[in-house]
């Protein structure tokens, strides 16, 4: 039918052209935006601190695999200016993703990665990390005592601590007039807190907290202890609103939640912004986590990696980064340079005695299977 043929085809070719235009328009918008930023933004250059003594002249490119908010453009720019090495940063959102990618063969380009404490122990066990040449590192003595020979890596043979934090409870002090001081508070006040509290969506943290409330270690492997913890968690579950590692801010700040188990990195900024919300580390002990810098065995540019580590160990650099990116540093000398306000923040830098009670989360070997099974049961019953 010739008539229909011509009408359809002309209409539809118009259609396709129109839609192509719009589709490409949308795409161009994005490309345009990403290009126009270059003229709008300004890059500041800061006079670089300069007590680096490089053992060997390093050059080329350094590719780093890290968490998003540990480095920013300014840090990279400062480094490049000080050493002439180009920095490329890839980010990941979890230790496990990083490990899986490295194990599956996708990490040969990275000279430096930032695993957390338990991951360091695991990677050492998997022979994935190079032993650090301590003579090439400058400034290790400035690290605080607690991190000079940490549990996850004795004598820092394979890693350099970069930042640390704790896990605690963030609560609404207006409504909860008797403040929580320990994990047991959650069970004792489950009627008040009913459907208004959240726990972390992390099996080791949450199970660890329950274990701690029973007096056991965060790293328990005894099946009987784990079973007890599982039952206790089930008791608490009806009062829980949800398991959330992130996304709780909105509900807590608006009063729909009264208490959340949070990481210090997220909890402390909230309490600084609105003092009604207080962050507390439970007395029977919580978990302390450390993020470190390590050099994988497959690193292509080891010299540049050492440069980067040394650069970040400089107290001034460390202090500036902390003030911009807001995490706790284990660098003792950098701490002395910090503003009094930050130093006085007991949540950012808790007192030694409390810190001593905090446990690092270590790998538990075969018990992982049990942890995973209990977690699935808890989250789907």
């Amino acid at each position: 039918m010739p008539r229909r043929l011509s009408r359809n085809s002309s209409l539809l070719t118009n259609t396709s052209r129109r839609r192509f235009l719009q589709g490409s328009a949308a795409a161009l918008a994005g490309v345009g935006l990403s290009n126009c930023r270059r003229t709008i933004g300004e890059t500041e250059t800061v006079a670089p601190a300069d007590d680096t003594t490089a053992a060997a002249p390093a050059s080329g490119t350094l590719q780093i695999y890290t968490w998003a908010d540990y480095t920013d453009d300014e840090l990279a720019a400062q480094f490049t200016e000080a050493t002439g090495i180009d920095v490329k940063i890839d980010v990941y959102d979890s230790n496990e993703t990083m490990l899986a990618k490295m194990q599956a063969g996708g990490g040969e380009n990275y000279s430096l990665i930032y695993p957390s404490d338990y991951m360091v122990t695991e990677m050492i066990g998997l022979d994935m990390l190079t032993e650090l040449d301590q003579s090439r590192l400058v400034g290790l003595d400035k690290i605080r005592d607690k991190w000079q020979s940490p549990v996850y890596d004795p004598d820092n043979t394979h890693s350099v601590p970069y930042s640390w934090g704790t896990t605690g409870l963030l609560y609404n002090s207006e409504v909860l007039t008797t403040p929580p001081t320990d994990w047991n508070y959650l069970w004792d006040n489950s009627d008040v807190l009913s459907r208004k509290m959240t726990l972390l969506d992390d099996v080791r943290e949450t199970m660890g907290a329950v274990l701690s409330s029973l007096g056991y270690s965060y790293n328990a492997t005894d099946p009987a202890e784990l079973e007890e913890a599982y039952q206790r968690l089930l008791e608490l579950k009806p009062s829980l609103a949800s398991f959330k590692s992130f996304g709780w801010q909105d509900e807590l700040l608006s009063g729909d939640l009264l208490l959340s188990m949070v990481y210090s990195v997220e909890g402390i900024p909230v309490s600084l912004e609105n003092p009604t919300f207080k962050y507390v580390i439970p007395e029977s002990g919580s978990s302390v986590w450390t993020d470190t810098m390590v050099i994988p065995t497959s690193a292509p540019n080891v010299d540049a990696a050492y440069e980067w580590i040394n650069f970040n160990l400089q107290p001034k650099v460390s202090q500036e980064t902390v003030e911009r990116l807001f995490f706790a540093t284990p660098n003792g000398e950098a701490m002395t340079l910090l503003s009094k306000e930050l130093l006085d923040n007991q949540n950012l830098f808790p007192p030694e005695d409390l810190l001593a009670k905090c446990e690092g989360i270590a790998p538990v070997g075969e018990a992982n299977v049990l942890y995973d099974e209990y977690w699935t049961k808890v989250k789907s019953a």
Binding site: L240, K244, D372, T376
Partner: protein
């Protein structure tokens, strides 16, 4: 998809080609059409899938471990009630989302394809899918603001004198979030199908005395059945794989199959064997659903034959 359209009438073409040449030609063209995609699928789908199948047969495989023995332990483990519950919950969420998307998406696609002013159609369609430009994480955060007890929705309800609803951290929130994420997909696919609806058929139906509702069920739906099938399939399968929404909007009982598999690969267990077997079971279940849908979607009456 297999309508059995008569092969292209190569025979009516240039009569000078020899039989061999003709056969070669008619053999090359399907290869040309199906070849490139086929190679891509082979390399990046078939081979990885075979890898997953192999991993699923190794009980308790950890990455980096050499493969020692094979067995069906991973599959048997899935039959435990804990895991079956997770499967069932995911299937429920996915089915519910699909029905909601179909119910709300069909009228929108219908209006856009048949009732909207012609010159605005494409723009309106693009505008409908534009919200998906935002990351799923950000969209879901926005839903938290809307759905929480003192959020916008409850604010509106209380101003109107209606009781506030506890929507946040419940399965209802998950349905809302997932429907939001997948409604545009359904609308897009249905639109593609509805746009070619021959309005003369509807006209004919009206002339024959059918009211609009009858015409809809007897004419429109059968014509667009392939689109409906494709849309439902797409939304069902994609919503099975969503884990941002159940995590952020669901309550403490929100573990879905995708989260479970994620935990096996990247969580404490790091049991790639079990994760692979869960993936295989998922693939098999969905394949069966697809096979059914394909048969169903193929039954549309061929008006012209």
């Amino acid at each position: 998809m297999d309508k059995g359209i008569r092969p292209i009438a190569a025979l009516t073409k240039a009569p000078t080609l020899t039989t061999v040449g003709r056969m070669l030609k008619s053999g090359i063209r399907p290869l040309g059409l199906l070849g490139p995609a086929g190679i891509w699928l082979l390399l990046l789908v078939v081979l990885p899938t075979l890898l997953i199948t192999e991993l699923s047969l190794v009980p308790g495989l950890r990455p980096g471990q050499p493969i020692e023995s094979y067995g069906f332990l991973n599959y048997l483990r899935i039959l435990e009630p804990t895991y079956l519950q997770v499967l069932q919950r995911s299937a429920t969420f996915a089915t519910g989302t699909t029905l909601l998307c179909l119910g709300f998406g069909f009228p929108v696609a219908y209006w856009l394809a048949l009732m909207a002013p012609k010159r605005w159609r494409n723009l309106l369609l693009v505008l409908f899918i534009l919200p998906l430009w935002t990351s799923s994480l950000l969209r879901t955060y926005a839903w938290i603001t809307l759905l929480r007890s003192s959020g916008v929705i409850n604010l509106v309800l209380t101003t109107l004198g209606l009781p506030p609803q506890g929507l946040m951290n419940t399965p209802w929130a998950v349905y809302v979030g997932m429907t939001y994420s997948f409604l545009p997909y359904m609308v897009l696919i249905l639109y593609a199908s509805l746009e070619r609806l021959d309005l003369q058929l509807l006209e004919a139906a009206a002339d024959l005395g059918a009211n609009p509702r009858l015409a809809f069920w007897r004419v429109t739906v059968p014509q667009t059945l392939p689109g409906i099938a494709a849309g439902c399939l797409l939304v069902f399968v994609t919503s099975l794989g969503d884990f941002v929404v159940p995590t952020l909007l669901g309550g403490p009982n929100s573990m879905t199959i995708s989260q479970l598999i994620y935990n096996q690969f990247l969580g404490v267990a790091r049991n790639w064997g079990f994760g692979s077997s869960l993936s295989m079971v998922l693939i098999l279940m969905v394949s069966m659903a697809i096979a059914l849908l394909l048969k169903y979607g193929d039954r549309n009456p061929d008006i012209y034959s």
